[in-house]
């Protein structure tokens, strides 16, 4: 018999309770998966074609992506769960080679002549260990395209308070990427370039009441290496990028309506001068025991990078890029999701429409980048548990 008098009373009682078989079992069986789940998701991403008036040279056809994603989640033992994700993606379309001013001084695109065809393979595996009130996960991944290879690894942990009303989570990740651009006669592209990324996050989730849950978090990232676009005529970016952001989420359940309102906000800022705001609302409405409908609305706005140029004139010196992703713009996305869930299987379907424009930005934009995308995303999926 051990003398436990001088210890913290909760620690002493917990220690004694953990000697009881049922409690020892519960202490780690918290939320490890108990069943195996396999899933498949097909999605089709289609960018709207450009209008002929936006193009100086080249094809108006833009990116189409078909993605097949597979997932396996399985328990290895009472404390250990394995998740494997694999996806295969085919892409086709043309991308911008550069932006030039036309006779009227308006920015117009020069598109790559030939349609780009590429495929991407992506595999990642994650091992999660569940213990008292928390879990810790390690994951590794690999992604491969004709001209691009990436390896990544991450560590993540989650811990809940004794009352399970507060959950702390955090993680760090590292990625090492290599680009070997496809060479074309007469165009000067680098042979091989590298970049690496480190990122991290920390978040607190708190259950405020039976119907309200909130989460707040911070994230940061650091990129180092070749961060330019090798396929653009004049694209020279700094070789470092530091980013920082914060996010807030709310989940509010309305049992009387059989519905839940999800509201998310995200702020992002980096030392390239980009700041962005994302606000998203999703309404989860149960129609029957099996059927759930999820309409969503998302707004996005960003400021431009310090070295963003609205045309690739040779008169610019130093860092410069006409990439639309570095331009000032705003976007609105709206969509509808459908979930049909039976005991051992689940069907999902989603459609989303996304439009980005200079006029949608919070700040006024004088000259909108002609490459800004609008797309339609369709996805269907099936999951099976056994």
């Amino acid at each position: 018999m051990t003398t436990t008098k001088k210890r913290n009373p909760l620690a002493a009682l917990t220690g004694a309770a953990l000697a009881l078989p049922a409690i020892a079992q519960l202490a780690h069986a918290d939320s490890a998966p108990v069943k195996t789940e396999v899933g498949y998701r097909y999605s089709q991403y289609q960018e709207d074609d450009l209008s002929q008036s936006q193009i100086l040279i080249g094809s108006p056809e833009r990116y189409d992506v078909d993605n097949h994603a597979f997932r396996l989640v399985t328990p290895l033992n009472a404390q250990l769960g394995l998740t494997v994700d694999a996806s295969y993606e085919t892409m086709s379309g043309a991308s911008a080679y550069g932006v030039a001013e036309d006779a009227q001084g308006e920015p117009k695109l020069i598109m790559t002549g030939a349609s780009i065809d590429d495929r991407r393979n992506d595999v990642s595996a994650s091992l999660r260990h569940y213990r008292d009130n928390g879990s810790i996960a390690v994951s590794v991944g690999w992604s491969d395209e004709k001209d691009y290879t990436a390896y990544n690894a991450a560590l993540e942990a989650e811990q809940s308070s004794a009352d399970r009303l507060t959950t702390y989570s955090g993680g760090i990740g590292y990625s090492s990427d290599t680009i070997e651009p496809v060479q074309e006669a007469g165009i000067n592209r680098p042979d091989s370039e590298d970049k690496s990324t480190i990122n991290g996050f920390a978040a607190i989730t708190r259950i405020l009441s039976a119907s309200w849950q909130v989460q707040g978090g911070l994230f940061a990232g650091f990129n180092d290496g070749y961060l330019s676009d090798a396929y653009k005529a004049r694209d020279i970016r700094p070789d470092e990028r530091q980013s920082f952001g914060a996010m807030a989420r709310s989940r509010y359940f309305m049992p009387d309506l059989q519905a839940a309102l999800h509201a998310d906000y995200r702020y992002y800022s980096d030392d390239w001068g980009i700041q962005s705001h994302t606000l998203e609302f999703a309404w989860h409405q149960s129609l029957t025991k099996q059927l759930r409908l999820v309409p969503l609305l998302r707004y996005y706005s960003q400021s431009q990078a310090d070295f963003y140029v609205d045309n690739d004139s040779i008169s610019h010196t130093g860092d410069q890029s006409s990439d639309y992703r570095l331009s000032p713009f705003g976007a609105i996305a709206y969509g509808l999701g459908l979930v049909y869930e039976e005991t051992s299987w689940r069907l999902t379907a989603n459609v989303e429409r996304y439009d980005s424009e200079g006029d949608l930005a919070l700040e006024s934009v004088d000259r909108e980048n002609p490459m800004l995308v609008s797309y339609t995303l369709l996805a269907v999926g099936v999951d099976y548990r056994f």
Binding site: K5, P9, L10, A12, L13, A22, Q213, T343
Partner: protein, 306 residues
């Protein structure tokens, strides 16, 4: 969408209810039966009202001043009782059940000091020789009672069995002691009501739980009222008299056993109960005889009492 089922039964002298989400009606029934069987197993093993229980065998040895060897589960429960006894400065005492011979809360009668004085020499865990796995009663005429914590332990065992049966979302209620196995399937927490100690049928507070346990206790459960004074069922093993101080305590913890013993020790400590609860760093709510509220869960109190 998982199948939801509630299953009620009676065990350990209390109404019990299981609320389980399962894959199918058949799965829910199978899980509920297994959980009920586990609770009944503990009742049969530890009941002080059954002649065939282990408690009866232990108490036969206690009466005779003999020794008895116990199984692993009982040994762990005795170790736990010993720890709780140490941590409560001797207030949590599984030998104090003997006082029930003179304190009959159904009779409405207060025992005399003389009746109590006759029992006190036979009370005190420190007088029992406990050397796992051997219980040695050097002092004749004692009695052990697992009733002070076996129901809470039962809620934890029930949750373990439900999880073994593949239940990931559910709530187990054994006579007011609650153990949660994961939130509702859509992620919503369970909303657990704490009974108002003075207004029957009214809820004092609503607590949201996705996991873990909550135990509540107070003088409202069983008591004798005489000449305007309330004598609750929580008895001080040193004096043999009901404790005065807090009238209702609820504690949230990982395991129902911890929540239950934290609650009981807080009541046993009387006016110092709130200090003990503060020292545990667990969420809690308490009310004293004047109706004052204490604890970290005061935000959950229904507005009329805030």
């Amino acid at each position: 969408m998982p199948h939801f089922q509630s299953h009620s039964f009676r065990a350990m002298g209390s109404p019990c209810c299981l609320h389980l989400y399962a894959d199918s009606e058949q799965h829910a029934q199978q899980a509920a039966q297994a959980v009920e069987a586990e609770v009944l197993r503990l009742e049969q093993k530890y009941s002080r009202y059954r002649d065939d229980s282990l408690t009866a065998a232990i108490n036969q040895a206690a009466k005779d001043g003999a020794s008895i060897e116990v199984d692993n589960e009982t040994a762990a429960l005795l170790d736990y009782a010993h720890t709780a006894w140490l941590q409560s400065d001797g207030l949590f005492d599984i030998t104090s059940g003997l006082l029930r011979r003179v304190w009959n809360f159904r009779s409405g009668k207060i025992p005399t000091q003389k009746e109590i004085d006759l029992l006190l020499p036979h009370i005190g865990w420190g007088k029992v020789g406990w050397h796992n796995p051997l219980l040695n009663f050097v002092h004749r005429g004692m009695e052990l009672d697992f009733g002070g914590y076996v129901k809470e332990y039962g809620a934890d065992c029930a949750a373990a069995v439900a999880q073994q049966q593949g239940i990931q979302h559910g709530l187990i209620e054994l006579g007011g002691d609650i153990r949660v196995i994961g939130p509702h399937p859509d992620g919503r927490p369970w909303s657990v009501g704490i009974r108002h100690p003075r207004t029957s049928g009214q809820v004092l507070a609503q607590i949201a739980l996705t996991n873990g346990a909550i135990a509540s206790s107070g003088d409202y459960e069983r008591c004798i009222e005489l000449n305007g004074k309330r004598y609750g069922h929580i008895l001080d093993p040193r004096s043999g008299w009901p404790v005065q101080g807090l009238i209702s305590v609820s504690v949230v913890a990982n395991h129902c056993l911890l929540a239950g013993s934290a609650t009981t020790i807080a009541l046993l400590r009387g006016d110092q109960g709130t200090d003990w609860l503060d020292s545990l760093d667990l969420p809690w709510l308490a009310m004293d005889q004047q109706g004052n509220l204490y604890g970290t869960l005061q935000d959950s109190v229904s507005s009329a009492d805030a």
